[in-house]
């Protein structure tokens, strides 16, 4: 059988294994990749390949950055840093109409700067902000949507696990990717705020104004921002100025967060142990996703399918942007049916070479893929953030959350359009730092 046909068959089998058997994404990619490689090359070569890939991926220095940044986020969560960020944002804008929702986005943006995961950001801010918004009679169509979508900032704003994975899979500089994510994350956050303001204009009952606070209270609340700001500046600053590598930045971030949290007596021993347990679980899942994608990628590479797809797309007599829109549509659709991180890891071996063949800047293209992937985390029926918030607010109907999220999808699409129209949004900081 033609190798490319085997590659296509492999993808079909993978989809069946994923959707019908419900096999974990990382395992499914590894198993199908192993079987396909056995068929195309030989069973013995496939056995050697899985041993070498599992060992070399698990022991890869570059990947050790993943557990470290995840641990940093969990420590920050257990130390209550998110609560103090929210409190500060709330004191400054809580008295506006929709102010609590805006405060949630502002706190999300700041927390995302020390936490690399969208679900962790959504879970953290959901636990902190939802009770407050309920207390001030915020409509659940605004409050849940704010928390669900605000979590996506964790993916775009550095440090981000998604950006680390893209960097490792595509051999792009993680530092450049981190720098490139800053402005798009700010733009996305601002568009969320605009959405909240417009919604509260149209439906004043959605977000009644909260109580006013004095200037003294406002200034005092800024103390809560200092710890997060210190961690962000030291970690990201150290990275940018070459004091440490991404992995070292992760370890330093953990240590700084620990020092800050223990010195302020905000982190308990139980919180520390829980952070370690949660980190091991999540990072093992991410490692398995990456390993599965590498094994599946090896199979696809021997079938030469990704290169054929890239060559075919590059030869099409249409603008590269038309193909980009098609790729984004595939990501959006894929994100609707499976976990967005899993889908990203699965498709990078096919769509990244395609983007490069079309002549796109790899850093910009990676940020575009990240932004589209984040949308997948909030689109029904498999938007992972939606279920995180549903778990936090079991009384609220899933349909209400879906409706609530739909208001914010326009902001997500708007930010992607802006990024396509103005690629400098992503490239200006890394170019300025490295050229």
């Amino acid at each position: 059988m033609d190798a490319a046909l085997v590659g296509i068959l492999g993808i079909i089998v993978l989809l069946i294994v994923l959707f019908i058997l419900g096999m974990p994404v990382g395992f499914a990619m590894a198993v199908v990749g192993f079987c396909g490689f056995s068929y195309v090359i030989s069973p013995q070569a496939a056995l050697n390949m899985i041993a070498t890939d599992l060992w070399s991926t698990f022991s890869k220095y570059g990947l050790t950055v993943i557990p470290l940044f995840i641990l940093m986020g969990y420590l920050a969560f257990h130390a209550g840093i998110a609560e103090r960020l929210y409190d500060a944002a709330y004191k400054w804008v809580g008295h506006w109409r929709g102010g609590l929702a805006i405060a949630t986005i502002a706190a999300d943006e700041m927390f995302a700067a020390i936490c690399g995961s969208n679900t962790a950001t959504a879970a953290t801010m959901g636990a902190v902000a939802l009770p407050q918004m309920n207390k001030y009679n915020y409509d659940t169509r605004l409050s849940t949507g704010t928390v669900v979508t605000g979590g996506t900032l964790g993916t775009v704003m550095p440090p981000s696990v998604v950006l680390i994975i893209i960097g490792l899979q595509t051999e792009q500089s993680i530092v450049k990717l981190f720098l490139a994510g800053i402005l798009p994350a700010i733009v996305l956050g601002l568009l969320f705020v605009v959405t909240i303001i417009v919604l509260c204009r149209l439906y004043p009952d959605f977000g009644p104004a909260g109580p006013k606070t004095s200037l003294a209270e406002k200034l005092k609340s800024l103390l809560g921002v200092i710890e997060a700001l210190t961690i962000f500046v030291l970690v990201i600053g150290g990275l940018y100025f070459g004091v440490f590598t991404p992995t070292e930045a992760g370890a330093a971030g953990v240590l700084i967060t620990l020092v800050v949290s223990f010195s302020t007596r905000k982190l308990t021993w139980t919180g520390f142990i829980r952070s370690i347990g949660d980190t091991l679980k999540i990072s093992c899942m991410v490692y398995m996703l990456v390993t599965g994608a590498i094994i599946f990628g090896r199979f696809l590479a021997v079938t030469r399918l990704p290169f054929m797809v890239a060559d075919f797309a590059a030869s099409l007599p249409v603008s590269p942007y038309v193909i980009l829109v098609m790729v984004m549509a595939i990501y959006l659709l894929g994100g609707c049916f499976m976990d967005s991180l899993g889908f990203l890891v699965l498709t990078i071996p096919i769509f990244f070479p395609l983007g490069i063949a079309l002549g796109f800047d790899p850093i910009w293209y990676a940020i575009i893929l990240t932004m589209v992937t984040t949308m997948g985390a909030i689109t029904p029926p498999v938007g992972v953030n939606i279920y995180v918030v549903k778990a936090l607010a079991p009384d609220i109907k899933l349909g209400t959350i879906f409706k609530s999220v739909s208001f914010f999808l326009l902001a997500c699409i708007g930010s992607i359009i802006l990024l396509i129209l103005f690629p400098q949004l992503a490239l200006i900081i890394p170019n300025a730092m490295f050229d």
């Binding site: 994923l18 959707f19 019908i20 058997l21 419900g22 096999m23 974990p24 994404v25 990382g26 395992f27 590894a30 198993v31 192993f34 056995l47 050697n48 899985i50 041993a51 070498t52 599992l54 060992w55 698990f58 022991s59 890869k60 220095y61 990947l63 050790t64 557990p67 470290l68 641990l71 004091v243 440490f244 992995t247 070292e248 992760g250 370890a251 330093a252 953990v254 240590l255 142990i273 370690i276 347990g277 980190t279 091991l280 679980k281 999540i282 990072s283 093992c284 899942m285 490692y287 398995m288 996703l289 049916f337 499976m338 976990d339 991180l341 899993g342 029926p381 498999v382």
Partner: protein
Amino acid sequence: MPILEKISRLMNHAFIFVAGTFMVAMILITCANIVSRLVWVPVKGTFELMGFFGAVVTAFALGYTQAKKAHISVDILVNRFPKRVQKFLNGINSVICMIFFTLAGWQIAKLGNTLRTSGEVTETLRIIYYPFTYGVALGCFLLSLVLLVELAELFFSENGAT
């Protein structure tokens, strides 16, 4: 079967403790390296040790992560099937993954044997590293054991794990 379940649970607890300890060691080594490099010279072999410790952290957490159902899967369609079908599919799922990780563990152990018999050492520290390779193999075997327990639960428990 409760014995198998108990063994799996105890082993997972022990392994996750080791994984957590290695993770803390990773943070300490890296931070020591940053400080040492800034004031004097880098700590020799940090790069190598970090990779090996990372391998232990991940491999030793494999079973625990599976036991906690933390590996992401697409259950949108599976959840719509009748319970009996779900149970059947879960069984197939466990068998396939169990075979795969047993094969992987066996092959990685073979790789460890090769490294041991050839006396392979690391480039900087000149230390043997096959024990870490065996560690990864052990992690794969523990994951297989967890999958076996899940499979056994499907057969022996009233409701089965769906």
